[in-house]
Symmetry: C2
Subunit: 379 residues, 2 copies
């Protein structure tokens, strides 16, 4: 193998490859990047237990003197290409033992790994794609992925469920204490019901961050493949039945309060500075419990009491309020803040159906996005 390429093109592709590269692995060969140079193109592949990524470089700046195959130590290779500031880099194999990286007056030699050890990565067949604009897929992920479970108690809840049926795609994440759901219309595609690991979606978001055009999605029994530009990004799916959440979301809301989102976020952030920290077992995640109540003159109070430190309250004037009852409801401020940040709308509404029933957050300009939070009992 001997090739020359613009450093910027190589780095751009390595940044995508890095999304599938484990820093450690029970299979050490997977900490390497597989490279295969044909007469005209360069393939690079990375894979961890969840994600596999392949890029095909056909760039005009790529000049292949000698085709060849190798596996190079992934992190070191990426770090070197990132730090180099020459325009061109030359990569070649020396005695099938080392990869030489030449750039201006610098020369780097990396012991290569055994190409034969690299497992065959089976990508989903490229047939019958579901084509989505990149912005739509990014939106679906950002609006839901934060609500997935971090605990492995019910593994299927660590992923986001994509359920397509009768022309509707329902995307749902829940950790049993809150739920995020977005519904969009996708007519004319066959039904599917899959759950994608949240880590895969986080990495996919980073990979497609600056990509604005259409993506093609391909499905198999246990994998999903996202194809865009010169990239194949594949994730395994989670086993298990995702719980049916259709009956959890209440339909009747006797109390609806509308807020300016930023005002509500700021008040909640301030009040939660003093809220008691309840740690999830064995986790460093804290749940700051705050209280929302309707006061006279339709003023809303957000408050918290912390026996050891003191207490806090903020009054808010809602932009609108429909109510037949007073209400005092306690919940995690972190859950509310994460839910609020998923809306593009400036105006959002909190929809209550009772002090111990889940409440729902909706946004004026976020059609079909539902954020639901279970309250905690206030004693």
């Amino acid at each position: 193998m001997n090739l020359t390429i613009d450093r910027e093109i190589l780095l751009e592709n390595l940044n995508v490859i890095s999304r599938g590269l484990p820093s450690k692995s029970p299979m050490p060969i997977l900490t390497g990047i597989k490279m295969e140079a044909t007469d005209t193109d360069l393939y690079m592949t990375s894979s961890n237990s969840d994600i596999s990524v392949e890029v095909l470089i056909e760039d005009a700046s790529l000049q292949i003197q000698t085709p060849g195959k190798t596996v190079v130590p992934g992190r070191f290779f990426i770090d070197i290409i990132r730090k180099i500031n020459s325009k061109r880099v030359n990569l070649y194999l020396l005695e099938e033992k080392v990869l030489v990286i030449k750039a201006d007056r610098g020369e780097y030699k990396l012991h290569i790994m055994d190409y034969m050890d690299y497992p065959n990565i089976d990508f989903v067949t490229l047939e019958n794609p579901l084509v989505l604009p990149s912005s739509v897929l990014k939106g679906l992920i950002k609006e839901t992925v934060f609500a997935t479970a971090t605990s492995e108690k019910k593994p299927v809840l660590t992923g986001v469920n994509f359920h397509h049926s009768s022309g509707k795609l329902i995307v749902t994440a829940t950790d049993s204490f809150r739920l995020s759901q977005k519904v969009i219309s996708i007519p004319e595609y066959n039904d599917f019901n899959i759950t994608i690991p949240s880590k895969s979606l986080d990495e996919l978001l980073k990979a497609i961050d600056s990509y604005e055009e259409d993506l093609s999605l391909y499905f198999s029994m246990n994998r999903i493949l996202v194809k865009y530009k010169n990239v194949l990004f594949q994730s395994r799916l989670l086993d298990g039945n995702f719980p049916d959440t259709s009956r959890i979301i209440p339909n009747e809301f006797p109390i609806i309060i509308q807020f300016n989102k930023d005002e509500l976020v700021e008040a909640v952030e301030r009040v939660s500075l003093l809220s008691p920290r309840d740690k999830e077992k064995d986790k460093e995640i804290t749940y700051s419990i705050i209280k929302l109540s309707i006061k006279k003159d339709r003023i809303i109070e957000i408050s918290t009491t912390n026996a050891s430190i003191g207490d806090a309250k903020e009054e808010l004037i809602p932009t609108d309020i429909e109510t037949s009852n007073p209400i005092v409801i306690g919940f995690s401020s972190r859950y509310l803040l994460e839910a609020l940040r998923s809306f593009m709308s400036t105006e959002i509404s909190l929809n209550f159906s009772g002090e111990i029933r889940p409440f729902v957050i909706r946004g004026e300009n976020d059609a079909n996005l539902t954020q639901l939070i279970l309250p905690v009992r206030m004693d």
Copy 2:
């Protein structure tokens, strides 16, 4: 106590106070901020084992309705004032039990601590100051503090030594493997020889970051006090004799190589990506050992060999070179990078007096700044 003040003024002063505030302390009262409102002014004080800070607020925006004294939970108070976005805040004591913070429609109550428990902080008498421009003191600290020891084996080496004698101030830091020294002229001040803990200097740098005018320094047997604007910043001094470093710095340099600093920094950063990591015992600090050698045509090679990964070399064309001998010298790339970053000069020189003798780095425009590094034996 009952007072009103512009939030921005209060926050600016709290940011300085935070430099002396411990997050934890064997004396819990010290996690509080002492506040004392007289008829016209507000004093605030913080203290940890090394540093004590006092600010005196006489701002026009300060209106004191009722004088008083209290100690408030420091971190919570600062966090609240930071998050508030009202123009004014009102602070008052309720039944000598809680401090109430009112800002727009927000109300925060913090259980106060017992004022009588707060230890008396003894500040150095404000007599006979040494006056220095802020830029000079910042420079002295930044040029040396990184070379202090992190290990407590010889406690005095965890500080920076300021030795004034016969009109010269010699500022030195060393961890026994490298040394940073700056000499400036300070005529007409009495001699002193003190060692200031590096942590105190780090915090002082943050406190005076945006302050550009003169500072007054006051000394006592075991403390130094820096006074600027409305702030008193005091640090304890380290006990013990700082080692005499005058004979460590070589005088004769048969080999002097001049580099463009940025080119050298970039080459060293790249090569050290592959250098073997030698961990200091029980520490997470790594020493990447690299090698510098003079090649034919007066080209300088920076290189490293890593048995498990591969090797790296960069060739550099020095801007000038004086040599009577070839040299191959090994040293920590981290030490070299930290030393190089302390220079303002674009042109720096590496001055060698032998392969196993310490070498010295000087900068064209950094008069009287010496960075010295001990080489490691290359086997």
